[in-house]
Amino acid sequence: MRHGKYRFLVGALIVPLALYGVFVLSPYLQAFQLAFTNWNGVDSAPEFTGFDNFGKLWDDPLFLAGLRNNGLMLLVVPLAVIVLALALAAATKGTRVYRVVYFFPQLLSVAIIAVLWQFVYTPNSGLLNGALSAVGLGSWRKSWLAEPDLALWCVMAVMIWSSVGFYVVLFSAAMESVPDDIMEAAAIDGAGPMTVFRRITLPLIWESVQVGWIYLGIAALDGFALVQIMTVGPGGPDNSTEVMGLGLYRTAFTFGKFGYASAMGVAIFFLTLSIAVLLLRVTKRERVELA
């Protein structure tokens, strides 16, 4: 290009890259180093222990429970959110006020959401049991977060509740950019609304959906704040809501095993990375087929 290109590039990039390097990259690199030690959090000279920490992960019932639960969340949450959000986005066409309201949860900090939902689920004076009694379904009352079979689903419901609004707005924005005449032409050709949606709308907004998959996939591997604030134990009952992030947090700050906790972090990192790449590939192929 023009003269002074590199001078401009260096001038423009040096500050952000330095900031990123100092505050983001360097701590992570140090954490990667810590993963190979038995550092207890206060010791000045941790021992190098090789891959010991990583070996232990596969015998650690708490980490495995977290892995299993995050896995289930990964299967359920993104799909549920995307289906719901697509349906709501399609249904709210022309009624803007709903979309404004649906976005509300997006404005709340997870900590606030968790505190709120704890009051929803609480057995004896909670909103959910109260509502069930009010509509004559008193026999459905449950100790929602205290039953191992239900607790994780309750957590996932909150995740879905808090994410749908954002994707409704995102998808409906994308849908509005689909030219009306295409839809009308299809309708005139005798295509039903479902066919139009599947054959025309969805392929045209697929890029937004793809972004949604990846973000939701990453979010499904987290869940720390919700589980930590809301659930019994936390992480219970009987580890039924344990997530990997909580395991890492507990290992570091309660058990004082910072080296081992860092190893968990490294494992979570590689998992997240693989899943992001996987989702990118899977969703990409589908777009080709549909488009």
Binding site: G11, P16, L19, L127
Partner: protein
């Protein structure tokens, strides 16, 4: 048609009910919250709010949050836009490498970095300071900002920039006078996301901001939520929750047209 509206109304109720209920609870006494979670207060207790504002220092936390989030947002937007622009519009060796290194930042579980990060900040003498938090917030918001704006700058037509160069504009001039204004819709969208993210940031200040006088809102609220565990003040907690929610909610309702416009163009890229 009817089922569609029932569905829409149901979801709207699901979204708003817990919030309205928290609002109502913030006017009740502790005993009323426990005895009858469903009924409105006998008489509204405004003292919950003043107690949260003064004794629980929610007012001070709000002020701290505005400074930190405001500073970090401005910095993130400037640096993020510059970086994304350079990576999107210039070919140079290492471009892809830098881009992916930056994007990788979105995938790291944050508390993997917490302890080492503390020392970096401590060694720079920035622990518990506004500028320390601002820099760290900006650094952690950078990956998403770059990721989002990168696509945006890519999709902008090159002709205008070419014309500006022919007119003798400098690289910086083209960026600030031509490209940045064209990217305004994208900037608005990413600015909104960043604002929400920074406003609700919890883990970073918890570790890097140990001074109670500098607590941000989410931190202060968590404090309130923890201390209710020791000395019950649930009504005060609800009042604090609402105070924390309200400014963002009002800003959203007030600016929702602009926000949606920003989101739309963001989605279109």
């Amino acid at each position: 048609m009817r089922t569609k509206h029932a569905f829409l109304t149901l979801w709207a109720a699901l979204v708003t009910l817990p919030l309205l209920w928290a609002l109502m609870s913030s006017f009740k006494t502790d005993a009323e919250i426990f005895d009858s979670p469903w009924t409105p207060p006998a008489s509204p207790r405004f003292d919950n709010w003043s107690r949260a504002w003064e004794q629980a220092s929610i007012g001070q936390y709000l002020f701290n949050t505005l400074i930190v989030v405001g500073g970090a947002l401005a910095l993130t937007m400037l640096l993020g836009a510059l970086t994304a622009y350079c990576l999107a519009r210039y070919e140079f060796p290492g471009n892809r490498f830098l881009y992916y290194t930056l994007i990788a930042g979105m995938l790291f579980p944050v508390f993997l970095a917490l302890v080492p990060l503390f020392f970096v900040v401590d060694n720079l003498g920035m622990l518990g300071t506004y500028h320390g938090l601002i820099l760290v917030y900006a650094a952690y918001a950078l990956p998403f900002t770059v990721f989002f704006l990168h696509g945006f700058f890519r999709s902008l037509p090159g002709a205008v920039a070419e014309a500006a160069f022919i007119d003798g504009a400098s690289h910086a001039g083209v960026f600030f006078r031509v490209m940045l204004p064209m990217a305004r819709p994208g900037m608005v969208s990413v600015g909104i996301f960043n604002f929400l993210g920074l406003w609700n940031q919890y883990l970073l200040p918890k570790v890097l901001n140990p001074d109670p006088d500098h607590y941000v809102l989410a931190q202060g609220l968590a404090e309130l939520a923890v201390s209710q565990g020791y000395r019950s003040d649930w009504s005060g907690l609800f009042a604090g929750l609402i105070i924390a929610i309200l400014p963002v909610l009002l800003a959203y309702v007030f600016f929702q047209r602009q926000i949606r416009a920003g989101l739309t163009s963001g989605a279109l890229k």
